[in-house]
Each structure stands twice: as structure tokens, then as C-alpha cells.
Symmetry: C2
Subunit: 222 residues, 2 copies
DNA sequence: TTATTTTTTTAGATTTGTCTAAATTTTAAT
DNA sequence: ATTAAAATTTAGACAAATCTAAAAAAATAA
């Protein structure tokens, strides 16, 4: 079955909002989709007919298993494209979201799966969010901020929560980028700073702020 | 300026039809776009307002310079994506057109130019059609069928006009694919067959039919 | 050159996704 | 338990892109 980009956006938005709350409200959706509540109501009625969601007037909305499956496929596409843009086309982490919003609606399943293989089956996108595999299974990423990692543990940078220009500049300066493997050497209680070591480099110190916003996956990132 | 996928398809179709005839007719367009003449008339009126084409009732249609510029950008995207699909994602020549029809409407200019660089600025797509550069300039491909190449000349396979399964199978069997460099060793008048040599392989003979449908670029293909 | 056929356009309708304004239901507050 | 406020839905409209059927113009043939 093929759905319009608009319908896919609704399904995706409901999916994301559902992570927070069981049932999603009309207003929350209107807000997320930058549209009006009345438009949301209209669309929910249509999506209900297509059996992608459960919806009773005034009672909010929930995805059916079908709807969830579709949502996961869209999320998969979005994140794979983001990974592609950063990894292969040298885009910055902050500029890929918008482009991926368009690319995620390209329908070919084969394209997505080939892209996945071409990228060597990445487990997380540049923001550190897990990429569902071809069967829709989300990899259970052991993701944590550097500040939460035990001393002597190591992992791969796969995301960053503070994406300000300043932050990115600092990371670039310290040679830290997506995919960089690092090891936690010491943690200083006084100021929350952390000493990390990157392969082939001298250990460097990162502040508490950086340590808290630098996300690392360990165990199972490709 | 951003245009709907539908409008872009009209512009692209007119562009292609214009290669044949100066002025494009309503029926020809309806045919090319798999739609009805009445719908074409409707759309032409809109595109005229947007100054993408010259149109007078019953008099056919022609792209303005603006329209042509847009068309070239769409063609560029289409062909770059096709190249990407074949070259990087291992798609067959015959399956990429449909997917590229969707990808060509992704709007980011930066994406296209990055993709171009990533692919190392290819000059022709898998069907042998030239890829306009970032300024809209079409590379002047010296393209010819193998049958038309002089003895001892060589070039790079960059297209095939007969894309039947049988043809593709034969080419695969002879180890001929997109990008294969070959040299014309002898030409036999009797049956039009041609002896070609591929690097590191013994010379092989190809029939007149194959020689006529195997397109080679020489001189300036990347 | 008149008649016939073909092409093209107009008129009016339909679908999708959206909107505003008004009505209704639910929730929260007194 | 009413009432006020907030959330949601309905009703009716609109733009984009398409369609069918009928009218008009152009091309062709007798």
C-alpha cells in the first residue's frame, strides 16, 4: 500500500508522540505538524478508515499494529538517509533533518534496503537515534552520555544533544566526530569534567557540559 | 522558487519533446504524461502564469529560458540519481528510471551538488545520456554505438539502447558493463560484427545488433 | 471550398488536504 | 453542580490537480 507524504507525516508524528503518552491528542498533533486542529480531525478520520489507527472522537488516537509498522519504516528511511548525508555527502549533523524529511517519502523498499547495505547497516543516525532494521526491529542501543560512562569503558560517538554551533566547533577542534571511538580515562568529581582518549591521540579533557551532551553507543554499534 | 512534482513533470516532458520538435502539442504531452488533454490545457495555463513557458491556445507550447533552466536541473537530478543507484547501490540499468522519477523531485540544491561530487562528477547516466553540470551545462559527449567507432579507437561503455533482458544477459556474459573500457580491434563487413578487446581479456566478437546498441563515450567520460 | 475528422479548449465535477468560523464536548474551576 | 475555559469536531469553503462530456477551432480530405 502506498500513502501520501502527508499521511505518512501524520503517522510518523503520532508514532513519535506516542513514545511520550499512550494516547495522542488532536492539539498535540496539530502542533507537531504545524497545522490546525480541524485539519487533524479531518485526516484522522481518513487514516482510521485505512486502519492505520484507532480513533474515537474526543478520545485521542493510537496507532494500530499496521500503523506502527508503517511508522517504523518511515523512521528507518529518515534515519538511514540522515546517516547517508552525513557519512557520505559530508553534511553537518544539523542540516540533514530537513532533507531527510523529503527523502523519507521515496517509496522503493528495495532502495532503502540497498542503501542500508551500502552504509554497512548502521545502528544509529547522526543524532544518536537507533535505526530500525529491515524487519522493523529497533536495535537496543546502549547509549549514554560520556558523563555516565564508567572509567575505562569505551564506545563510539553516535550523537550529540546540544547541536549549537559552538558545541560543534569545539568538537571539531578536539577531533571528535560521529563514529569516533573514545575511551573514558578519568572522571573529576570537582567539576564533572572527563578525560577521554581517542585512538592515536593524547588524552584530552572535556567539560561537564560536553560530557553530558556527547552521546556514545557501546557494545553493538557497527 | 519551488514547484510541485506535477509541474516539474510537465516541464521535463516539454523539455524532452522539444528536442524533437520546436513546439510541443497538447496531445503529445498528454501522451507523455499519461494524462488527458484537458488536464494538460489546465496545467499549461498555470505554468504560463509562472513564466515557465510560452503558450497560446491551439498554438502549442515552448519553454522560456526560465523553464528550460528548471528542466535542466530536473534532468540533472534524475540522471545523477540513476548513476548513484547503479554505481553505488548495485541496481540494474533497467530498474533505476522509476526510482529516479521520485528522487528527482527532492528539492535541496546542495544535496544534488554534493551527490555529484560524491559520484566524482559523472558525465553520463547509465543509459548513456549526458548529465548537465551544476551550472546547467550539458557535457558534449562524443557518444557513438560501437558499430560506428573506427578500428583501433577505444572508449567507455556508458549506455545501451536495447535494454531487453536478453541483451543484458548477453552483455553480462561477455563481461561488459557500464564503465567498461573497450577497444575496437576489427570490423567485419560481411555481417557487421565487431571484434572488441576489454582490458585483461581475450578479444571477443559482438554481433551487429549488439554493436549497434552498445553506446560508448570517448574522450571525456570521467 | 465545403465537409469531416482531429485536436484542443471550456465547463462543470471530483479528490485530497487544507482552512476559518461556529458548534459541541470535555475538562477544570469555583 | 454549575459555570467558565479549553479542546475538539462539524460545516462550509478553497486551491491543486485531475477527470468527463460538450463545444470550438484547426487540419485534412473530398
Amino acid at each position: 500500500m502506498k500513502y501520501s507524504a502527508s499521511k505518512e507525516n501524520y503517522i510518523k508524528a503520532i508514532f513519535h508522540l506516542q513514545q511520550e503518552q499512550e494516547s495522542v491528542t488532536t492539539n498535540a498533533l496539530a502542533d507537531a505538524l504545524q497545522t490546525k486542529p480541524a485539519s487533524v480531525t479531518d485526516m484522522l478520520k481518513k487514516l482510521k478508515i485505512e486502519a492505520l489507527l484507532q480513533y474515537e472522537k474526543y478520545r485521542g488516537v493510537k496507532l494500530t499494529p499496521e500503523g506502527k509498522k508503517l511508522a517504523v519504516q518511515i523512521v528507518r528511511k529518515h534515519r538511514l538517509w540522515e546517516f547517508f548525508l552525513v557519512e557520505k555527502l559530508q553534511f553537518g549533523w544539523e542540516e540533514v533533518h530537513e532533507i531527510a524529511e523529503e527523502l523519507e517519502h521515496i517509496s522503493s523498499k528495495k532502495l532503502v534496503d540497498r542503501l542500508d547495505a551500502f552504509l554497512d547497516f548502521p545502528k544509529a543516525d547522526p543524532h544518536g537515534d537507533p535505526i530500525p532494521d529491515m524487519h522493523g526491529k529497533m536495535p537496543a542501543l546502549q547509549q549514554a552520555a560520556v558523563s555516565e560512562m564508567p572509567v575505562n569503558s569505551s564506545g563510539t560517538v553516535n550523537g550529540i544533544s546540544d547541536q549549537s554551533a559552538d558545541m560543534l566547533e569545539l568538537l571539531a577542534h578536539k577531533n571528535i566526530q560521529l563514529g569516533t571511538r573514545l575511551e573514558v580515562k578519568r572522571k573529576f568529581e570537582v567539576d564533572g569534567s572527563v578525560e577521554i582518549k581517542i585512538r592515536n591521540q593524547q588524552p584530552v579533557n572535556i567539560s561537564e557540559h560536553v560530557a553530558k551532551n556527547l552521546l556514545v553507543a557501546y557494545g553493538n554499534k557497527k
